[in-house]
């Protein structure tokens, strides 16, 4: 499959994952492009595992970028999301609510370790435990434990058990 087709197929989910992982929409765009530059230079031997390879490489690039610059503060920084061209601006109350949700989610995710964050967000993208384990360098059985532990931490900050408590 041509690189352009692979980009068209995977860049949106990869962008979403990296934006969640880093909390920085601009950085996410750079990371996605760098990931495809790496794909062009050194494609994985097993094309059947391409999707996992893309997420693993994107995670590594994102971590390097976060560690090597002040962007590490991005997770807890206020940064309004950009609007796609042509969209009507939301009313102020909706925009405020959305921004508040973004801030809460960013702050909560920032409290997780990098590995916990990657595991949780890759699960959200539909990866199997086996694929997640390969991507973050851990064993398959420990992935379930890490997910449960990460959700336990997030539950306190994001009221994930709110409905149960009612």
């Amino acid at each position: 499959m041509q690189l352009e087709e692979l980009f068209a197929r995977h860049h949106v989910e990869l962008y979403r994952y990296v934006a969640r992982f880093t909390g920085d929409a601009d950085l996410a765009q750079d990371v996605v492009q760098d990931t495809f530059v790496k794909l062009a230079a050194r494609p994985p031997a097993d094309e059947g595992r391409l999707r996992g390879w893309l997420f693993r490489v994107a995670t590594t690039i994102a971590l390097d970028a976060l560690r090597s610059s002040r962007r590490r503060l991005a997770l807890v920084r206020e940064r309004p999301g950009r609007l796609p061209v042509g969209d009507a601006p939301p009313d102020p109350a909706t925009a405020l609510e959305r921004e508040e949700t973004r801030r809460r989610v960013r702050e909560a995710l920032a409290k997780l370790s990098e590995k916990e964050r990657a595991v949780l967000l890759m699960r959200e993208e539909g990866f199997a435990h086996r694929e997640i384990a390969a991507a973050v360098g851990t064993t398959t059985p420990s992935v379930g434990t890490m997910i449960a532990r990460a959700l336990e931490k997030l539950a306190r900050h994001l009221d994930l058990d709110e409905e149960d408590a009612r």
Binding site: F36, P84, T101, L120, E124, L158
Partner: protein, 205 residues
């Protein structure tokens, strides 16, 4: 672990998913990073040429044969200069040297790339797949240097040459690609037995 824990985890994950989707920034229009890919490929090519030039210099010292050494040193200098952005033309190898008309070697990488330094006034590049583990290359009708690289072969030619080249690659190679000058590498496809591709090096300008 209690029986409720998997259900609790699933409920929390579902709620987190909803929150993440609500918090996601809009996806910007992103173009395929073709220019960045090309720039990165050029940087890698420069690094390879530098490595080839260094190998040629070492070979020149080791050979100790005056005319061959003089040509190799000059070629290495030219390659280095070209890689570093200089404009000197590559010297045409002396026909009498006869050191580069044919090479045979065993590729170790999973894929094979043939890099032709520049387009020519005439001539073709024929790539064939063969049984066995050895690769070979030969020049006919002109002069060029064949340099074995870790992932394939470089044909260090002169734009004025009219030489043609036949490169035989093991059919077991996962991928064969050809790059002429600064153009993007063209993938010929998974090797497979009995494959033959003929590229017009003039058309590659």
């Amino acid at each position: 672990m209690s029986q409720d824990e998997p259900e609790l985890t699933d409920r929390r994950a579902a709620r987190l998913g909803a929150l993440l989707r609500a918090a996601d920034p809009p996806v910007p229009a992103m173009a395929f990073p073709e220019a960045r890919i090309v720039r990165a490929a050029r940087r890698r090519a420069v690094a390879r040429w530098r490595a080839a030039a260094a190998v040629a210099l070492v070979a020149a010292c080791a050979l100790g044969v005056r005319p061959v050494r003089a040509w190799i040193v000059e070629a290495a200098r030219t390659l280095w200069s070209a890689a570093a952005g200089g404009r000197r033309a590559a010297p045409r190898p002396p026909a009498a040297a006869g050191t580069a008309g044919r090479v045979t070697f065993t590729p170790t990488a999973g894929s094979f790339v043939v890099r032709v330094a520049r387009p020519q006034d005439a001539g073709t590049l024929t790539v064939e797949t063969t049984a066995g583990a050895s690769a070979s290359a030969e020049v006919s009708g002109g002069a060029a240097e064949l340099v074995v690289l870790p992932d394939g072969l470089a044909i260090v030619n002169d734009s004025g040459t009219t030489g043609s080249y036949v490169v035989r690659v093991p059919a077991a190679m996962g991928r064969i690609a050809v790059a002429v000058g600064a153009a993007r590498p063209r993938v010929l496809g998974p090797a497979g037995p009995g494959g033959t591709w003929v590229l017009d090096l003039r058309g590659a300008r």
